[in-house]
């Protein structure tokens, strides 16, 4: 920590500490696994900031079960085996009593295998669904959540007849498109093509020619990060933006910055959070974030903000269970709820029921055009 950062955080702490909550003797350590390197590393700084803000907010109102939260950060941007080594160090080495994770599913698989339900683990980003391990609490949006209300709404608004589905060739891209197929057919529209591209692809001409030939008037874009940027730019340059609307469930603020507003005509994004949601809770959160980290703060986005939600859910479940043990938390988690930047969030089947926002792109970036309240995750997780 350099001197300036130290002064800033001391100043912030003294402001936040006005209420001087009385803490129990020991601090409780919470491990935060976020990508600090690798392709997703660009979300590291904003996710770290959200985690810090969450811990400070919870500490200011009395801490987690009366104990002050102390954060430990681990790099989840590594290969799964290395990331789980990092998590093991924080858990067994440094004594973390709970884990918040915002990272890919491969790392989640490794961490679930490592923890084996012995430490509460809150997984927060958008994901493909299906995680039902004990002691694992999922805050992220599932494909069902992001699409089930949204596709019928788009059908009513824009009346597309032919959908083309494209995605990266891995579980999230495939599960998202598979879920979409059912909802699309229910609206009476037709799926005229689907294809899955490896992550190495950076030339989308062949796919764009197929989309053009298919006569699609709607495209579901389940590509990730750089692939989504390259695809959407080329899509617009071929003049397809006027012919077909686009819908994505992982087009957040950074991806849109790469695509460019001019290339985002008729593009919709569906997510549990956008940086400019107009609700008082979301605006208060964005203001607190801006105040705490200043004008140079890493830009807010749905993935980073999910880390904040993870802490709120940890607080809610811990309060209901009265302890940080998986046995008690698993028993108590059903129905645990809080109201945060995303709105009211309630745990069901160790997933969450939450609001889903649909945004299109205006001249200043995302503009939320529709809100669906209390959307189910579509996950059942028996036992």
């Amino acid at each position: 920590m350099d001197r300036r950062l130290f002064l800033q955080s001391t100043a912030a702490a003294s402001v936040l500490g006005v209420a001087h909550p009385v803490f129990a003797a020991d601090a409780v350590k919470v491990a935060v696994m976020i990508p600090q390197s690798g392709p997703a590393g660009l979300f590291g700084p904003s996710a770290k900031a959200c985690a810090e803000l969450a811990a400070e907010t919870i500490n200011a109102r009395g801490g987690l079960l009366g104990q002050k939260i102390e954060l430990l950060f681990g790099d989840a941007g590594l290969a799964p085996a290395e990331a789980s080594q990092a998590a093991l160090k924080l858990w067994k080495g440094s004594g973390a009593a709970a884990v918040i994770g915002m990272h890919d599913s491969a790392v989640r698989g490794a961490l679930v295998g490592l923890f084996k339900g012995q430490v509460p683990y809150f997984y927060t980003p958008v994901y493909e669904g299906g995680e039902c391990a004990k002691g694992t609490y999922v805050n992220g949006e599932t494909p069902q959540q992001q699409l089930q209300p949204v596709i019928p709404w788009i059908a009513a608004e824009r009346k597309p007849k032919k959908w083309y589905l494209i995605g990266n060739d891995y579980i999230w891209g495939r599960n998202t498109n598979a879920a979409a197929k059912g909802y699309i057919e229910k609206t009476g529209a037709q799926v005229v093509g689907d294809e899955y591209l490896p992550f190495t692809v950076d030339n989308f001409d062949a796919s764009l020619a197929r989309i053009r030939d298919s006569g699609a008037d709607a495209v579901l874009v389940s590509l990730v990060g750089g692939a989504s940027v390259g695809f959407n730019k080329a899509f617009a340059s071929f003049g397809l933006a006027d012919k077909a609307l686009r819908l994505g469930t992982l087009i957040e603020e950074n991806t849109l910055a790469g695509i460019g507003l001019a290339n985002a005509k008729n593009l919709y994004s569906s997510a549990g959070y956008f940086a400019n949601i107009a609700t008082p809770a979301a605006q208060a959160f964005a203001a607190a974030y801006g105040k705490r980290f200043g004008p140079q703060a890493p830009a807010l986005n749905g993935l980073a903000e999910s880390t904040y939600e993870g802490f709120l859910m940890l607080e809610a479940v811990a309060r209901k269970a009265g302890a940080l043990s998986v046995a008690k938390m698993d028993a108590a988690c059903e129905g645990a709820s809080y109201s945060g930047p995303r709105g009211a969030v309630t745990m069901k089947a160790r997933h969450v029921e939450q609001d889903v926002y649909v945004a299109d792109v205006a001249d200043k970036g995302f503009r939320v055009v529709k809100t669906f309240s209390h959307v189910s995750s579509g996950q059942t997780c028996k036992a």
């Binding site: 990060g225 991806t255 910055a257």
Partner: protein
């Protein structure tokens, strides 16, 4: 020619043009100096960020060309003088040193602009009608520019006395030196030309590609495959490599999907490496 065929033909020409454009700089450096410049892609990245910079400063997009040329030339001069020159004839050491340079360049750009995606706006990226289809105007311009650039380079290399000296230097460095050719200075200039070409390619591609600090490695890999196939030191080889790699990737991708297209490129490259094992580092 119906619209679909024309579109596929244009896509193929575009893919070959961009591949030639991004490989050219590496072909010059690798082919003429025998230096495997692992930071090649990072010079393309610097070119793209030059456009980001001039748009941030509110300057016209064309100002990115002089900026990229100045930055890449200065960087190229320094790198050749203090990193490459002590390591000539030590290909493996050069490879490691330029790989480190690539990481350094990525980190510097990350420190200035962050890891996030950037976009540059260009009014010309819209599609214009051509034949029975429509094609982005910027891409058509890029194809034309690439052809002009390649023709000019061939002409310069074949006809100018500088080209003659470069050929003398690469043909027999000792003899060239004995004839009074300042091979050291010539090598420095050749390296600068190579990295400036990479930077210029980055400027030209900026409106069409995703821009983030890590894009360099994509261009390095593709350029490397082209040189593996095409061999070193001749523009004909470069053209052949571009044709085989770009052509097979575009064709197989269109017919059997992108995964197969990429696999074919890897298989071809492995076959060439295997059957011509001395082709890569056997220079000098």
């Amino acid at each position: 020619m119906d619209g679909g065929t024309l579109l596929h033909a244009l896509n193929l020409v575009y893919e070959l043009s961009t591949l030639a454009l991004t490989t050219l700089g590496l072909a010059v450096v690798f082919g003429l100096l025998g230096v495997m410049n692992m930071a090649h892609g990072e010079f393309v990245m610097i070119g793209a960020y030059s456009v980001v910079a001039v748009q941030q400063w509110g300057l016209p997009t064309l100002a990115a060309f002089p900026l990229a040329i100045a930055v890449c030339a200065a960087l190229g001069w320094v790198v050749e003088r203090w990193l490459i020159r002590p390591l000539y004839r030590r290909p493996f050491d050069t490879l490691l040193a330029t790989w480190a340079l690539a990481m350094l360049m990525r980190k510097v750009v990350e420190a200035i602009w962050g890891k996030g995606f950037r976009n540059v706006d260009d009014a010309l990226t819209v599609a214009v009608p051509i034949g029975n289809t429509s094609y982005p105007a910027y891409r058509l311009g890029l194809i034309a520019l690439t052809i002009v650039l390649l023709a000019a380079l061939v002409f310069w290399y074949r006809r100018s006395s500088a080209g003659l000296r470069v050929r003398a230097m690469t043909g027999n460095p000792m003899l060239a030196q004995a004839l009074g050719i300042d091979t050291q200075r010539l090598a420095s200039r050749t390296f600068i030309v190579g990295v400036v070409l990479a930077g210029a390619a980055g400027v030209m591609l900026a409106p069409l590609i995703r821009i983030e600090p890590g894009i360099g490695v994509d261009y390095l890999l593709d350029a490397f495959f082209v040189l593996v196939v095409g061999g070193l030191g001749t523009l004909g080889g470069l053209a052949g490599g571009v044709g085989v790699i770009g052509g097979s990737q575009a064709l197989v991708s269109s017919l059997f999907g992108q995964t197969s297209g990429y696999a074919v490129v890897l298989v071809i490259s492995i076959l060439f490496l295997w059957l011509k094992p001395d082709g890569i580092f056997a220079r000098r």
